[in-house]
């Protein structure tokens, strides 16, 4: 396990919130109440997942079945809708674009958030509070109206329909900056002081000591930014164009929306497309669930 104090703190929080470390069980409270709660919890969980289940069923059912009433809940397996939906749209290219854009955005966000979080959380300089207020105000601007001025800007620098325009404007995250700031502000300061005494310059101190110290925050930010990038729709929709053939530089959600517009009445095909474009994210979610939960927990603590 790790000796990192921040990591230990979060693990403790997770454990108390109910995610035991692997293999450990928790002491029980009143048994009968627990059974009742369990039943309700399972029903709720199933209810929340049901829309995904139903979409999957429609997509693997025989194409004529989707409009039967009452709806069919157990499919008669037929993967032709998946095959059809896959072949009609350049999904591989779209996935590749999304992965590239999301990764690029994550890397850029980690860099800018660490630097700015260090500045706001550790350093003292004139104008610090003003800059922090400026950063906070960024959260409040509705995105729908920034599109036109941002398109004019993008066009002036020849970034329209490129990967750059989908990465750089999102390369700084208010959440990320404040989370890192929080981490820096609450860590034991002796570590940094010791490094200063040893003569380390600020950048070296940040790199050698600061970054490892805030590693849990970096993971949280990475996940957060990755998901937000995957989820983005209006921005890439306006800033990119679908190529005459292939995926161009468009991400997968824009592709899905375009597919829905073009093939909206092919319900099983649309269900299949929705299923296989969402499946990678569900898998990522299940594999990294602890990190996701941490991300949500730390969101509560970071922005004040």
């Amino acid at each position: 396990m790790t000796a990192d104090p921040a990591e230990i703190g979060l693990n403790r929080l997770l454990r108390r919130a109910g995610w035991p470390e692997r293999g450990r069980r928790l002491p029980r409270r009143k048994k009968s109440l627990l059974y009742l709660r369990r039943i309700v919890a399972v029903l709720l969980g199933l209810g929340f997942i049901f829309p995904f289940y139903w979409t999957f069923v429609i997509s693997v059912d025989r194409p004529g079945q989707f409009d039967s009433f009452p709806p069919v809940l157990i499919p008669q397996w037929d993967w032709s809708s998946w095959a059809r939906a896959w072949s009609e749209w350049p999904w591989l290219g779209l996935f590749a674009n999304t992965a590239l854009i999301a990764s690029g955005t994550v890397i850029l966000c980690l860099i800018t958030s660490t630097l700015a979080g260090f500045a706001f959380g550790v350093l003292r300089f004139p104008g610090r509070k003003a800059l922090m207020a400026l950063v906070l105000s960024v959260l409040m601007m509705p995105q729908t109206v920034l599109i036109i001025p941002d398109y004019v800007l993008a066009s002036d620098i020849h970034w329209v329909d490129t990967y750059w325009i989908q990465i750089v404007p999102w390369g700084a995250s208010v959440f990320g900056i404040f989370l890192i700031r929080q981490f820096f502000a609450t860590m034991p300061q002796e570590i940094l002081d010791a490094a200063a005494v040893d003569g380390a310059g600020r950048l070296k101190m940040l790199w050698r000591i600061g970054v490892p110290a805030v590693r849990p925050a970096l993971v949280i930010i990475a996940i957060n930014v990755f998901m937000a990038s995957w989820n983005s729709f209006l921005w890439p929709e306006v800033m990119t164009r679908s190529a005459a053939s292939g995926a161009g530089v468009q991400p997968v959600e824009v592709g899905l929306s375009g597919f829905a517009s073009a093939n909206g009445t092919d319900i099983p095909g649309l269900a299949a497309a929705t299923a296989f474009t969402t499946l990678p994210l569900i898998i990522v979610f299940l594999l990294l669930q602890r990190q996701f939960i941490r991300g949500a927990l730390s969101a509560a603590g970071s922005i004040r």
């Binding site: 003003a130 002036d156 517009s261 009445t265």
Partner: protein, 450 residues
Amino acid sequence: MRSRQLAATAAAAAVTLLTVSACAGGGSSSSSTTTTAPAASPSANAGAITGPVTISFDEVYDSGTLKTAMQSAVKNFEAANPKITVSLTTYADYGALLTAETAAVAAGKAPTIGQAYESWAQKFATSKVIVPIASLPGASSTMSTALSSFYTGVQSDLKLPDGQVWMWPFDKSLQVLFYNATLLKAAGITSPPTTWTQFGTDLKSASKNGVVGITIDPGNATEGATSGEEWLEELAAANGTQVYTSNGTPQFTNPAVESALQYLVNLKKEGALATGTNYPGETALGAKKGLVDLSSSAGYYYEQQSVGGKFPLTTTLLPAGGSGAPDEMAGANLVVFAAASSQQQAAAWKFLQYLSGPVEQAAWSAATGYYPVTSQALTEPSMATYLKQNPWVSSTIAGLNSAIVDPPYAWVTQCGIDLSTAMSAALSGTSVSSALNSAQSACSSAQSNG
């Protein structure tokens, strides 16, 4: 401390303001050059292409036969005009297209050719970002002959209120009815109705056992123009008055319009009409839960896909009302943007002529279900099989001469949304007169805002 913070904030704001004004200045100066559009100087060889030139075309043919037919059209054109390259940019729907065209023009990067509805073209023209067709290099001599080969309804559709031809046609459609022939027989209807009154009766008698006669989409801001809203306009015209006067003034509270909407509300009350979004009539028809779908003739391929051969389709024109059976013509036109260079405009004119010529119109029609805009296409060999398999085309194409079309004014887009809203409201229970009153006042204020 506080004054230093204020100074820092002010400094940050000043920097960003400077950046913005530089960009804003850059943006407006690059598009101000388009206000003085380079008029092609008439010369002996006006319209000749001297060197390799690339033109861009923004369109919405992004799926099915539309996509493949456009791609082969481009290939054939480039083969015949080796110096010209056509670069297609495809969008998922007209909403995305308008956003993209607007943003591109705003940034000074307009395409050469773009699809545009009449109301868009009016806005483009008054903002001086498109050019009249006659000003294209090479067009002054050849335009009027080409124009006269089109159906008359199409010809007048190309003009804006100032009388000049600002658009060029490519694909036009009329609304048609697709019936489930099996259900027609089962309901005891021997032949499709020829009047709207008969249509109502037939729909009511067929609406049982989970079947709803017809499902329509009244439309909303995201979707833009829909068949449902066009149906209202056609019913009003069939009752004697169109929803707009010829100069774009709305007449939504006219008795003809009110009785048209009331007709739909009555159908709904009798369970013969339902509403939905995303081509609900097509879905219902394919699911055997609808008797008929009202759709653009260009939806023909999609209807067949939805039906999937489960039953035969009968296709007819619209029934008649008291004042005839006017049909609404749909389909966007093409405009040429002013930012294009002289050579690009010359190449664009060649492409426009090719697209509207009989050979390409025949091929396009047969592949997509749009009507050819010129009657010369009907005699092309490539159309022969298509016409034989689809007799409704020949019998209905004359409708292009008499079709109604929304007048080309910028506020018509807003007014279409207002009518859609009125339809949704009336079909949800609001009284017809109050729904239309709200639409009338909203449209009037849009009109006065210009």
